[in-house]
Structure formats: structure tokens, C-alpha cells
């Protein structure tokens, strides 16, 4: 067991270093930007009408004249103490904004993650088991088409069909317009989250299905399957294929987290869903560096956490890895 602990600690240290790298990269990229935050947010006309003192105060607020190294170190110091700074657009602590936005997105993300994973796995196994037949061709063709479809365009299409033509679902936002926050029922919230969640799930399916199919085909071509068939074994799919596909499926599932989050940026924008992705877009367009930096680090932490979880789950799923670790 101490081996597992050592492994986890090693992974955690690597993860911390990577997060540091992510924050530094994001910071340097934003710092290199030629876009002036004052021009973007205040506007040329308003700036011209201001007195020099007002401009100076605004420059101090957006941190225009502080050296980059000093800003990064002070940000890092704050981040280590759990303070990610103050969002310049929302005028609230970044951590608070991220927490609120993430709680709105989390349901969406988890639903899409679980559904696309389950659907992708099922379709992949079905296609792999019927290799060369029409089910396989159909699934492969469909997945190819899906993977070529931009998520935001799919969102637009669903919006046209369900919200404009059929008028069965709302056209955007997370709650009805004008409703007080506490009067919104759970059903209303679900109705608003349905289309974004479905769009996000559909776009995630194809990658997982195609990769799973590949693995299933590999397993079915192996000698042990040939031997099992020769012995006249039944239920080969459940006894041999499923077990051997479990590991790569796990990897795929956890590796898809980043893609789902990336997709949510686009999908939330289409549906004006007030989640983390939409906040990232507003922060980027508005030059809100602390918020964008915070969101980048948060999503990277989620992605790295997913990778770590997959690494740890390998041992749980596969006895060979568990024993190998104990012996080593």
C-alpha cells in the first residue's frame, strides 16, 4: 500500500508543477497582449473626456503600470493562500465568481460527461463486435459526421428546431427572464439546461465510440479470444472483451474531461447559459486578467485531477497493475 501512496504523492507533485506552469503560461500570454484593457473597457471616447487623474486611477485599477514579474508573484502568493484576486469586470473575488459559475456549469458538465461516456462505450462495443457489418458502418459513419460537426453549430440547429419551430424549450439563459431567483422551480432549471446538456453530450460521443471500437477490434483479434472460441466458450463479449476494454475506456473517459469543458465554452455562449465557459469568454473579451487566469487554472486543475483519478483507478480495476505495484 505504501507503494500506492508513493505513486500518488509523485503524481501530485507533478500535477502541482504543471499547474504552476499553466498559470505562468496563461499569465505571460495575457501579459504579452497588445490589447489595452482601458481601451477595451472604457472606450476611446470616454478616455479622451477624462482628466489625467481619473485615467491614472483607472490605470492603477487595471494594473497597467506594475511590472509583470511583481504582478505574477503577488498573484501567486495570493493564490497559495486561496485568494485569486478580484475580477475586474464583476468587481467580486475571482474565487466567488468561479464558484458560482462552476456550480451552474457542473450539472451540465457531469451530465454530458456521463452520458457521452456511456453512449460512446456502448456504441463502440456494438460497432467493434459487429465489425464490417452494416451496424458497424452506420456507427462509424455517424461518428465521423458527428466529429466533423462544430458544437456551436449543432447548438444553433437544436435551438432552431426545438425553440423556434416547435417552441417546446426556452431559447436561452438558465432561468426564465425576469423571474426572481428563489421563485424558479427545479423543473424550470432543468428545462433550461436540457438543450445545452444534450448538445454537449452528442459532441462528446464520437471520439469515445471510435476509440472504443478500435480497442474492441484489437481484443477480438487476439489469440486468447481465438482460443476461447475454439473451446466453444459462450458470452465471450462479457467475459473477455468487456474486461480488457475497461482500462482504455477508463483512460478515454477521463481524458474527455478537457474536451467537454472546451465544448461547454462554445455551447454556453450559444445558449447564453451563465456558466464557467461563458465567464471565460466575457473575461477574455473584456481583458479581465484575474478572472481568465483563475478560470484557466481551475479548468487545468480539473483536467489534471481527472488524469490522476484515472491513474489511481487503473489499480482498482486491473488486478495485474495492483499486484505489479505491490511487488515492485
Amino acid at each position: 500500500m505504501s507503494h500506492r501512496l508513493q505513486f500518488t504523492v509523485k503524481k501530485l507533485i507533478r500535477m502541482a508543477l504543471l499547474l504552476l506552469g499553466v498559470s505562468l503560461t496563461a499569465f505571460l500570454l495575457m501579459d504579452a497582449s497588445p490589447l489595452d484593457p482601458l481601451q477595451t473597457n472604457v472606450g476611446q471616447a470616454a478616455l479622451g473626456a477624462m482628466s489625467p487623474e481619473q485615467v491614472a486611477r483607472l490605470e492603477a485599477y487595471w494594473g497597467v503600470n506594475t511590472p509583470a514579474a511583481e504582478r505574477y508573484l503577488s498573484w501567486l502568493g495570493g493564490a497559495l493562500r486561496g485568494d485569486l484576486g478580484v475580477s475586474l469586470l464583476y468587481r467580486r473575488p475571482v474565487l466567488e465568481v468561479i464558484g458560482q459559475r462552476l456550480s451552474a456549469s457542473l450539472g451540465l458538465l457531469i451530465f454530458a460527461w456521463a452520458l457521452s461516456g456511456a453512449l460512446g462505450l456502448a456504441l463502440g462495443i456494438l460497432a467493434g463486435a459487429s465489425r464490417g457489418r452494416w451496424t458497424d458502418r452506420l456507427i462509424r459513419g455517424g461518428c465521423l459526421l458527428l466529429s466533423s460537426t462544430p458544437a456551436f453549430w449543432l447548438a444553433l440547429l437544436l435551438l432552431i428546431v426545438f425553440s423556434v419551430w416547435l417552441r417546446v424549450l426556452p431559447i436561452g439563459l438558465a432561468v426564465p427572464i425576469g423571474a426572481a431567483a428563489d421563485s424558479v422551480t427545479l423543473l424550470e432549471r432543468l428545462r433550461h439546461a436540457l438543450l445545452p446538456a444534450v448538445t454537449l453530450s452528442i459532441t462528446g460521443v464520437s471520439g469515445i465510440a471510435l476509440h472504443t471500437r478500435e480497442k474492441v477490434v484489437d481484443v477480438l483479434d487476439s489469440d486468447y479470444i481465438l482460443f476461447a472460441r475454439a473451446r466453444g466458450e459462450e458470452r465471450i463479449l462479457r467475459r473477455h472483451v468487456l474486461r480488457n476494454v475497461a482500462l482504455p475506456a477508463l483512460t478515454l473517459q477521463f481524458a474527455s474531461i478537457g474536451e467537454i469543458i472546451g465544448g461547454s465554452v462554445l455551447v454556453e455562449q450559444v445558449f447564453s447559459y451563465p456558466g464557467l465557459g461563458q465567464a471565460a469568454v466575457s473575461a477574455g473579451l473584456g481583458g479581465d486578467m484575474p478572472l481568465l487566469l483563475g478560470i484557466t487554472v481551475t479548468t487545468a486543475a480539473i483536467v489534471f485531477g481527472g488524469n490522476l483519478a484515472a491513474d489511481l483507478l487503473y489499480g482498482v480495476v486491473d488486478p495485474r497493475i495492483r499486484r505489479g505495484a505491490a511487488r515492485g
Binding site: R14, L17, L18, G21, V22, T25, A26, L28, L29, M30, A32, S33, P34, L35, L144, L145, S147, S148, T149, P150, A151, F152, W153, L156, L157, L159, I160, S163, V164, I171, G258, E259, I261, G262, G263, V265, L266, Q269, V270, A280, V281, G284, L285, L292, I295, T296, T299, A300, V303, F304
Partner: protein, 272 residues
């Protein structure tokens, strides 16, 4: 299926021809794509304007073709740039080993840890948005997967008998790389390049759609779709349907060709 080679070749040349045709047509139709005519605004699809017209009376067919041609050019450029980057970094990582290998592997993990869209947005902001922002963003975020593949390949090749022998015979490293390593990496590289292309186009369109890419005056697919959002509630579905459909068509074609090439070049499935 002994003729998979032939059919792949046909698909490949077909998509090449289509590519050139769209780029050419885009150049020819560039003027029509931005010509406004308020006598014919908001027309649904009809024989004269198969894709309809928008609220400024611009021909959506011309806009779609022009946007597609822009997307293809950006996509080809970024796919090429990121594939070359992947080849260079992957080869360097495996051939030099040591701290270079460590640094490249770490950078791969780093780039893969940030969701693509977010990374492209960040790089695009660093370059001041616009055409070059999104081009740099897509090029710098798509190399890790191919670089990992190339690295694995070179690690295997390094121990190949003919390479060890040439090394012993005193062939200089540069020639070793050029004569013995690169020819073996070429198939991987070309397949990677073609498979990179659909991703590049999709991400360019997505980032432009969000407002970090090409500027609103350019008839890019992302711009067209983003503009259409304001008119969907009014029932003008054609503004979003056809441009998106055209994009999906081009991307799917290249995904198909890339997939066929990959199957052909993989020894396990080449004879299927």
C-alpha cells in the same frame, strides 16, 4: 478489399480538387460576398439565391463559399505549422533524450492540460486577436498528440539495426536524420497533417465564433454563424443552416481521407 489504395487515392485527389476549387471560387466571389443590396434583403432560399440572403441583402452562397475558402486557407496553414512543430519537437525529444526529452514531455502535458479552446483564446489574446491571433493559437495548441506519436516512433527506430549500424559506421547525425529517420516518419507525418486539418478548421471557426478570431468584416464561417444568432428567433434558419452544413461537409471529407490513410499505413489494418 484490394482496391482500398485506389479508392483512397481517388478520395484524396477528389478532396484536393475540391479544396482548390473552393479557394479559387472564394477568391472570385470575394466581392459578391460583401456586396449589400437592400432591395433583396432577408430572402429565403430561392433559385436565384440558393442559400438565401441576409438582412443586408448579401448573397449567402457567395458568403459561404468565401468563408469556406478563408477557413480552408487558415486550416491548411495551421495544420502544416503544427505538424512541422510536432515533427521537430517529437524527433528532438526522442533523439536527444535527457533534459530535452523531459522538457518536451512536460510541455506536452502542460498544453494538453488546458482545454484547447481556452488555450487558443489565450494565445489569440496574446497576439491581439485577428487572423494571426487565431492562426498562432490553433498552430500552437494542436501539436502535442502528433509529437507524442513521432516521439514513440523515433524511440523505436533508434534501436533499429540499420540505424545502429550507420551510427557505428560514423555517419554524421545530420545525414542520419535526413537519410534514415525522416523517410520513415514521412507517412506518420502526412497522415497526422491531414488528420490535423479538420480539427484546425473546427477550432478556428469556434474561436472566431466566440469573437477572438477573424474580424467581423471578414466573411469567415465563424463570423457568419455568430451574426446569424441574432436572427434565428425571427425564423431565418437559412442563415445558420447552409454555412454550417458546408463546413461540416469539408471537415468530414478530410476526416474521412485522413482516416483511410491512417488505416492504410497501419500495418495491422493495411490488408483488410
Amino acid at each position: 478489399m484490394s482496391n482500398r489504395r485506389k479508392s483512397t487515392l481517388i478520395w484524396l485527389s477528389l478532396s484536393g480538387v475540391l479544396l482548390c476549387a473552393v479557394v479559387l471560387a472564394g477568391a472570385l466571389l470575394g466581392e459578391r460576398a460583401i456586396t449589400a443590396d437592400f432591395t433583396r434583403k432577408n430572402l429565403p432560399p430561392c433559385p436565384a439565391f440558393p442559400f438565401g440572403t441576409d438582412w443586408m441583402g448579401r448573397d449567402m452562397l457567395a458568403r459561404t463559399v468565401a468563408g469556406l475558402s478563408l477557413s480552408i486557407r487558415v486550416g491548411a496553414l495551421t495544420a502544416l505549422a503544427s505538424a512541422v512543430l510536432a515533427l521537430a519537437l517529437g524527433t528532438a525529444s526522442a533523439a536527444l533524450g535527457g533534459w530535452v526529452d523531459g522538457a518536451v514531455s512536460w510541455t506536452i502535458d502542460l498544453v494538453m492540460g488546458i482545454p484547447h479552446i481556452l488555450l487558443i483564446i489565450l494565445i489569440s489574446i496574446a497576439c491581439g486577436r485577428g487572423l494571426w491571433g487565431v492562426t498562432a493559437g490553433v498552430a500552437l495548441s494542436h501539436w502535442p498528440a502528433l509529437a507524442r506519436l513521432v516521439r514513440g516512433e523515433v524511440l523505436q527506430l533508434r534501436e533499429a539495426p540499420w540505424l545502429r549500424m550507420s551510427r557505428r559506421l560514423g555517419v554524421p547525425p545530420g545525414r542520419l536524420l535526413w537519410n534514415h529517420l525522416l523517410p520513415h516518419l514521412l507517412p506518420q507525418f502526412l497522415t497526422g497533417l491531414i488528420l490535423q486539418f479538420p480539427h484546425a478548421i473546427l477550432h478556428e471557426a469556434g474561436v472566431t465564433f466566440l469573437g477572438f478570431g477573424l474580424s467581423p468584416e471578414q466573411p469567415a464561417i465563424g463570423v457568419i454563424l455568430s451574426e446569424s444568432m441574432g436572427y434565428l428567433a425571427a425564423g431565418r434558419w437559412w442563415l445558420a443552416l447552409f454555412p454550417g452544413l458546408a463546413l461540416v461537409g469539408v471537415v468530414a471529407l478530410f476526416a474521412l481521407v485522413g482516416e483511410r490513410l491512417r488505416l492504410l499505413l497501419a500495418p495491422a489494418s493495411a490488408q483488410e
